[in-house]
């Protein structure tokens, strides 16, 4: 089944409260549409609930008991998403509905890299039967773009006005260390559509702990043009700022971009990186880190073959 065969369902009500150009809003509509279609094995799964720890989606996905995303929503405190999802997943198993239902936890990078990391680790190592989506916009979006563990080094945020001084956490390696059955990083853009759809379908089809690391363009946080969202998503992949990987049972597979571009092509559209763009030295250092990480992933792909 190709992307063109999956009609985007009207999952996202126009009353939703996400920002213009929000990358995660389009991704939500696509992921829900993909999951609700017959999966590669022929299974059809009903979304039992989307579990939403504190994030933009807490206020954006509904009001007064009404869900704007077309499926059940369970809102939780910031720290608790993964384990609340696990509890719902266990009940699906006990009710004999594990093959017919899917619980999706839709958590931000703050909830996953930082405050909820402990509980995420617990749910992952217990192989909780959930699809855990890290909706990563590289910042605490709902509070107005503060530094998170996912913020790239050097990027400016409201709490790192001169640029982040510490490294970005490597969530791929954190999740790989948990030996989960499925992990993939995904980006929604024109040239990555096939990759996106294939990974979401595989993740939804399986059972156990599946993690999708979704890069979500965030115009207010990234200080970029809201009309550029799909282009920036694509550039993140083409510049290798956000490598597309898939890890199945510990074997890492890297999706190489067809056209590679230098990092400034991605950075120059975002004011949060203006200090890096303005400094040839900083830009060179940034590019070097990107290259190092890419080479590391190439070696990891080789080792885990």
């Amino acid at each position: 089944m190709k992307p063109k065969d999956i009609a985007i369902q009207p999952f996202l009500d126009s009353r939703h409260g996400l920002c213009p150009g929000c990358g995660s809003a389009i991704a939500m509509a696509h992921i829900q549409s993909i999951v609700s279609q017959p999966l590669p094995s022929g299974k059809i799964k009903k979304i039992r609930s989307m579990v939403i720890p504190a994030s933009c989606w807490s206020i954006g996905s509904g009001f007064d008991g009404v869900s704007f995303v077309g499926t059940n929503l369970t809102n939780t405190p910031f720290i608790a998403g993964a384990t609340v999802g696990e509890g719902i997943g266990i009940m699906s198993q006990r009710q004999g509905l594990a093959e017919k239902e899917i619980t999706i936890v839709w958590a931000g990078d703050g909830a996953s890299f930082d405050i909820g990391l402990g509980l995420l680790s617990g749910a992952a190592i217990r192989n909780a039967d959930i699809l855990y989506v890290i909706n990563d916009n590289q910042t605490y979006g709902n509070t107005g773009a503060q530094e998170s563990g996912a913020t790239p080094e050097g990027a400016k945020t409201q709490t790192s006005p001169l640029g982040k001084e510490i490294a970005q956490k490597d969530i791929l390696e954190i999740m790989m260390a948990h030996k989960i059955p499925y992990y993939a990083s995904i980006v929604l853009s024109v040239t990555t559509l096939d990759d996106f759809y294939a990974k979401v379908r595989r993740a939804a089809d399986q059972s156990g702990f599946r993690c999708l690391h979704l890069l979500s363009v965030c115009p207010p946080g990234w200080k970029c043009d809201a009309a550029k969202t799909p282009d920036l998503a694509e550039l993140a992949v083409q510049t290798r700022a956000f490598p597309l990987v898939e890890v199945i049972d510990g074997r890492l597979c890297l999706t190489k971009p067809k056209r590679e571009k230098p990092i400034e092509e991605f950075l120059k559209h975002q004011k949060r990186f203006d200090a890096i763009i303005d400094s040839p030295e900083a830009l060179h250092k940034f590019q070097k880190q990107i290259d190092n990480n890419w080479n590391y992933l190439l070696r990891l792909e080789e080792i885990t073959k």
């Binding site: 929503l73 809102n75 609340v84 266990i90 009940m91 239902e101």
Partner: protein, 396 residues
């Protein structure tokens, strides 16, 4: 289900009895995380589940916070959940415990009472659970091992009462009860099912069932009117919990012949005595023994939340002196029970009886019958009313 679970007369510690209560409640899921002195409850549940003596899904969680998050998930999906903890663990749960109460999710937490640090201590007092007295969460305090087993079952009955729908906290004193072995009768699974039927589906607070086309958005933002409505509903739920207690006690008596009177209190001694001693938890038994041949009636509080003000007024009756023994302390210098009584006194009319407040039991301070007798003679030799708080040990 659970057909292999032992029943009948045996000897158990308080912790084991709590585990048997959980086992007989036929939980869907138990989340376990070790902490002294509650650990054996968790160990026993892990053993019973992994040996398939019970069909509960057991999970070793990664913290008490995760135990409570798991409970929120299970209860949201309509399952019956339990967990056990103590002190620091209960404190770590706070954010999610508050969430579970205000989300009106029935589940049960057993707290084996232990001092809440600092300083570091594993000794029992009641400062941990009483810190949670402002939550919309019924709190039960056990005075014996049998009571511990029974109260876990009561807690599920109350939690899942459609008028209540709240988490319930069952407390037993660390070591004094958790590690003390007593004779216990484990009821049969069949009789427990009569008392505690299968969990009812409560559509207001749970995800719709599989075939239901309805779509919900649980715990999303609401307008202020709905917030007010929900706060009021919580008050009503606590009031309903109050009226449910005698019903539960009545049903318990009819099925098991176990007599907890109307459920709220444990009362012994001369009903016309002019002195009433009030306390809570495992030391109630010691106080009863100390005052067995003294003109004192001893009142043990079983349900601290909802606070049994009316029942206490009746139990105190014509007593002119009230001794309160607290194992907790508040910033205003009062023990928690004494504070509640002083607060409720106006509305409930304790006939102007003097409240003599004793606090202690911290850091492993042990109470013997002699301590209580010394306390009594100190009170009898003084003339009230007393506004101050005596620290146990000072009065000897």
């Amino acid at each position: 289900m659970n057909s292999k679970l032992a029943c009948g007369k045996t000897i158990l510690t308080g912790n084991k009895a709590a585990a048997y209560g959980f086992a007989l409640a036929e939980l869907d899921v138990f989340g376990g995380y070790p902490i002294t002195p509650s650990t054996e409850i968790t160990e026993e549940m892990a053993t019973l589940a992994s040996r398939k003596i019970i069909s509960t899904t057991y999970r070793n969680t990664d913290s008490e916070l995760a135990s409570m998050a798991l409970g929120i998930g299970v209860a949201t999906a309509g399952g019956r959940y339990g967990t056990a903890t103590s002190s620091q663990g209960l404190a770590l749960m706070f954010e999610l415990l508050h969430w579970a109460t205000t989300a009106e999710l029935p589940l049960v937490v057993v707290n084996t009472n232990r001092s809440l640090g600092a300083p570091w201590s594993i000794h029992p007092d009641q400062t941990d659970s009483l810190l949670f007295r402002d939550l919309f969460m019924p709190q039960i305090y056990c005075a014996s091992v049998q009571e511990t087993l029974d109260m876990v079952l009561w807690a599920y009955r109350m939690a899942e009462d459609p008028r209540v729908n709240l988490p319930v906290l069952v407390c037993l004193d660390g070591f004094m009860l958790s590690h003390t072995a007593e004779t216990v009768i484990i009821p049969t699974q069949e009789s427990v099912r009569k008392f505690l039927p299968e969990k009812r589906f409560c559509k207001d607070f749970m995800l719709p069932e599989f075939d239901d086309k309805k779509i919900v958005n649980l715990q999303c933002p609401y307008n202020w009117k709905e917030h007010s409505r929900r706060k009021r509903a919580l008050v009503l739920a606590m009031q309903s919990a109050y009226s449910a207690i005698p019903e539960i006690a009545g049903d318990w008596f009819n099925i098991f012949r176990g007599n907890y009177d109307n459920g709220f209190l444990r009362i012994s001694g001369d009903p016309n005595a002019k002195i009433a001693a009030i306390s809570m938890g495992a030391i109630v038994g010691t106080i009863e023994e100390a005052f067995a041949d003294k003109p004192v009636k001893v009142i043990g509080i079983r349900f601290f939340r909802p606070f049994p003000a009316k029942e206490l007024r009746n139990a105190i009756g014509n007593a002119s002196k009230i001794i309160v023994i607290d194992r907790s302390i508040l910033p205003n210098g009062h023990g928690v029970i004494a504070d509640e009584l002083r607060l409720a006194g106006g509305a409930c009319g304790y006939n102007g009886a003097d409240i003599h407040s004793f606090v202690g039991g911290f850091g492993g301070q042990n109470f013997s019958e002699e301590n209580f007798l010394n306390m009594l003679s100190a009170i009898l030799s003084e003339i009230g009313p007393f506004k101050k708080t005596y620290w146990m040990g000072d009065a000897q």
